[in-house]
């Protein structure tokens, strides 16, 4: 095997598959990245039995072949190379990587029992890469990180005709995003549950891709897979087991008061006021008239308050939130204004974006946030 490849192309291709490297492999071959050189293309792949990654990279292949090398080492080496053509060749049981004046040799791993990667499931539809990346990042922020509740570490994807609904919750907040996509199989209604971390990384890496194809394995099959493909890169992931809790009934249909404020103004105030407290100590908000008062800290501890002017309609309300969760919600909005809708101080608030102060709320993204309650 022998080929020459552009350093940046190689780095992108290796970076994509490196996400699927196993960290605690049940067999050492899963620590490797498989490189197959064939007719002007490199095919890179990695697989941790749950997530598989494949990428194709254009290269000048003078001699075809397949090797398996340590994934971690390859990532480190490629990252450190100068921006020059990279020559790779197999010398006996070692692979040489030569770039400019730098030269590395790394041993090959036995590829004999390397598992077969799952096929990309049949395409269900497609969506623009940047839209997909934004939508995923907006909901992934609300996903749980606690492995003792595995269902909540996932993003739920619900497909119905040309509408795709993404949702995630850690029980304290719920983020829901609806996007339009191109459905190739309009007859199917399907849903999938994918680890939020995996989906977030993949969507982020596909941000610059014009169209991302999404594949779903047929329901009822033995393997429940979802796949993403775009511009020579493919990722498949096994879906999480379990049933995502029904959440649509949690979205309140009405509210008793609504506040509108510029996102940046509110974020700055939240950041300043929560300086005095630990991040799990509540931030208290009082809405009335056309002012919002933010307070943090009690009793003997350091305290902070700030008042900002807002547009407010409805019954005055006092409510307390975990400042981190509130900031996460504000950060996720694409618009410059946020609308906060309340029903009661023990009930969830709904954050949604507004492009202008007076415009209607954008309902494509909603972030439900449960308040905190003080002991009596």
């Amino acid at each position: 095997m022998r080929f020459t490849v552009e350093r940046d192309l190689l780095a992108d291709g290796v970076g994509w598959v490196a996400r699927s490297l196993s960290t605690r492999p049940i067999t050492p071959v899963l620590l490797g990245i498989l490189i197959r050189a064939e007719s002007a293309q490199l095919h890179l792949s990695a697989f941790d039995l749950e997530v598989s990654g494949r990428s194709q990279v254009e290269a000048d292949v003078s001699e075809g072949g397949t090797v398996l090398v340590s994934g971690r080492l390859l990532v480190e080496i490629v990252r450190s190379l100068p921006n020059k053509p990279v020559e790779v060749r197999l010398d006996g049981s070692k692979v040489s990587v030569i770039c400019g004046s730098a030269r590395f040799t790394l041993p090959i791993l036995t590829a004999g029992d390397y598992p077969t990667l799952p096929e990309m499931p049949a395409a269900a539809g497609s969506i623009a890469g940047d839209l997909f990346a934004t939508a995923v990042s907006q909901v992934a922020v609300a996903a749980g990180r606690d492995d003792s509740l595995p269902v909540l570490t996932g993003v739920h994807v619900d497909i119905e005709k040309d509408r795709m609904t993404l949702a995630a919750t850690d029980r304290y907040r719920l983020a829901v995003r609806e996007v339009l996509w191109t459905n190739d199989r309009p007859d199917i209604a399907a849903s999938a549950l994918i680890r939020a971390r995996t989906l977030f990384d993949a969507a982020k890496a596909l941000h610059g891709t014009k169209t991302v194809t999404i594949g779903l394995s047929p329901t009822g099959g033995t393997e429940h897979l979802i796949g993403f493909a775009g511009e020579g890169r493919i990722m498949t992931s096994r879906m999480l087991d379990g049933t995502f809790p029904p959440y649509r009934h949690l979205l309140p249909s009405e509210s008793s008061s609504v506040a509108v404020v510029e996102v940046a103004t509110l974020m700055d105030a939240v950041r300043r006021v929560s300086v005095v407290t630990d991040k799990t100590v509540p931030l208290r908000l009082s809405f009335s008239g056309d002012a919002l008062r933010l307070e943090a800290g009690t009793g003997e501890d350091a305290q902070a308050t700030e008042e900002i002017s807002i547009n407010f309609e409805g019954d005055p309300i006092n409510i307390a939130f975990n400042p981190t969760y509130l900031t996460d919600g504000l950060n996720a909005l694409e618009e410059s204004y946020v609308q906060l809708a309340f029903t009661a101080s023990g009930k969830p608030a709904v954050l949604s974006g507004r492009t202008e102060k007076e415009s209607g709320a954008e309902n494509s993204y909603r972030y439900l946030l449960m308040p905190m309650r003080y002991p009596n």
Binding site: D146, D147, S148, L149, T169, D170, R171, Y172, R173, L174, P245, Y247, H249, L250, T280, V281, P282, A320, N322, G346, P348, L368, M370, P371, M372, R373, Y374, P375
Partner: protein, 390 residues
């Protein structure tokens, strides 16, 4: 150094054994040993049992050989914690300066309480009366001008006694004791001192401090010399809030069955949750400990977003930590569950949960706690913890 004996060391007499006897008066006056499993050690023994040579930390099997007629009882850790809390509360009604050393002993500084309540000895008597009246157990109190002499004094009047070591008696009291009575003199140090022919505290006190510093190292040599002359300026420091609460259990036989281990983890989670709720605490960091047949051990912990004292939440985390170990039928000797990062309940605002019913695990736990208070521990417990024969 103070002139009056305002430092008290209060030590419960055979604490665990005495607590076990409270509810079983028929055991009073008998040799009672706390600890039953063939592989456990004796946690406590009544004075009647000690007469047979049984002492704490001795293997239960050996205690059974020494006194086959003794009554061996199961430890009741929740009860010990409850009685200990009650006793510490009694201490705190006399002075805020209470430094608990363990569940069953504490230092008290009653300097400031003299005007309000009376002389130190008067206070000591009243403490002993109240502990006996309210908790039906006895304690011994040592009074001195320093912490370490007070502790020695309580040890010398056990059980059920009071000993005052006045300032002027301190030296003569100390000097007839063996060096091993000094704080910080364990087996190794004792060996060294013996080689120098120093057997009593008097011997040590009459050795040039430079010699001691050479033999034991600068800090320890100087420290022991000061103690030998009754000089100890350590203050009684009220304990900071408890840092962690946990329970562990040694299996009667090494276990490799995950089902059995998880059931034990559930039981320990329940105990830990119960103790947290008794003290009105919540914690954020949950850890498990697993000790294997070869005595090697692992601990794993996870910090939650929200502090909890709910049994099922503690169990869910402990279970996932255990499963994360991916043990392949390894033989397990002991498991433990612990919770840290404790805060009192009123300090914490609760993060409400989306779509949670108005009544949940938290209400279940308080119902269990109420049933336990009324009908005894374990009156109400998860079905998995009920033995098939019950």
């Amino acid at each position: 150094m103070r002139d009056e004996t305002t430092i008290l060391h209060v030590d419960m007499d055979a604490f665990y054994a005495s607590v076990s006897i409270i509810e079983r008066p028929e055991l009073r006056g008998k040799a009672v040993v706390v600890g039953t499993g063939p592989r456990s050690v004796v946690l406590s023994a009544s004075y009647e049992a000690r007469a047979f040579g049984i002492h704490a930390a001795m293997p239960v099997s050996m205690a059974r050989r020494l006194a086959p007629q003794a009554v061996f009882v199961e430890p009741e850790h929740e009860r010990y914690a409850e009685v200990s809390d009650a006793v510490m509360e009694i201490f705190e009604s006399f002075t805020p300066l209470v430094e608990p050393l363990s569940l069953d002993e504490a230092f008290l500084d009653v300097e400031g309480a003299r005007k309000l309540i009376g002389s130190p000895i008067e206070i000591a008597k009243r403490i002993r009366d109240r502990v006996a009246d309210e908790q039906q157990i006895t304690c011994s109190v040592g009074l001195a001008t320093t912490k370490f002499v007070a502790k020695l004094a309580s040890g010398h009047c056990k059980p059920d006694g009071i000993l005052v070591v006045e300032k002027l008696e301190t030296i003569s009291f100390l000097h007839r004791l063996p060096v091993s009575a000094l704080w910080g003199v364990g087996g190794k140090t004792e060996e060294v001192l013996k080689r120098f022919g120093l057997l009593t505290i008097s011997d040590l006190a009459h050795t040039p401090v430079e010699t001691l510093e050479r033999a034991l190292g600068k800090a320890q040599g100087r420290h022991l010399y000061e103690l030998a002359w009754g000089r100890d300026d350590r203050k009684v420091v009220p304990n900071e809030a408890e840092k962690s609460i946990g329970n562990e259990e040694t299996f009667a036989r090494d276990v490799d069955d995950a089902e059995v281990i998880l059931r034990e983890i559930l039981r320990l989670s329940e105990r830990t949750g119960h103790r947290l709720r008794l003290r009105e605490l919540k914690g954020r960091t949950i850890s498990i400990k697993v000790k294997f047949a070869d005595f090697s051990q692992l601990t794993r912990s996870r910090t939650l977003n929200e502090a909890t004292n709910i049994t099922q939440e503690i169990y869910a985390v402990a279970k996932s930590l255990y499963e994360g170990l991916n043990l392949d039928r390894a033989r397990v000797r002991l498991v433990g569950v612990r919770i840290e990062g404790l805060i009192t309940k009123d300090e914490v605002a609760t993060q409400l949960i989306l779509g949670a019913p108005d009544h949940g695990w938290s209400e279940l736990d308080s119902a269990v706690d109420r049933a336990s208070a009324r009908f005894g521990r374990g009156a109400l417990r998860p079905a998995r913890l009920v033995k098939p024969t019950e």
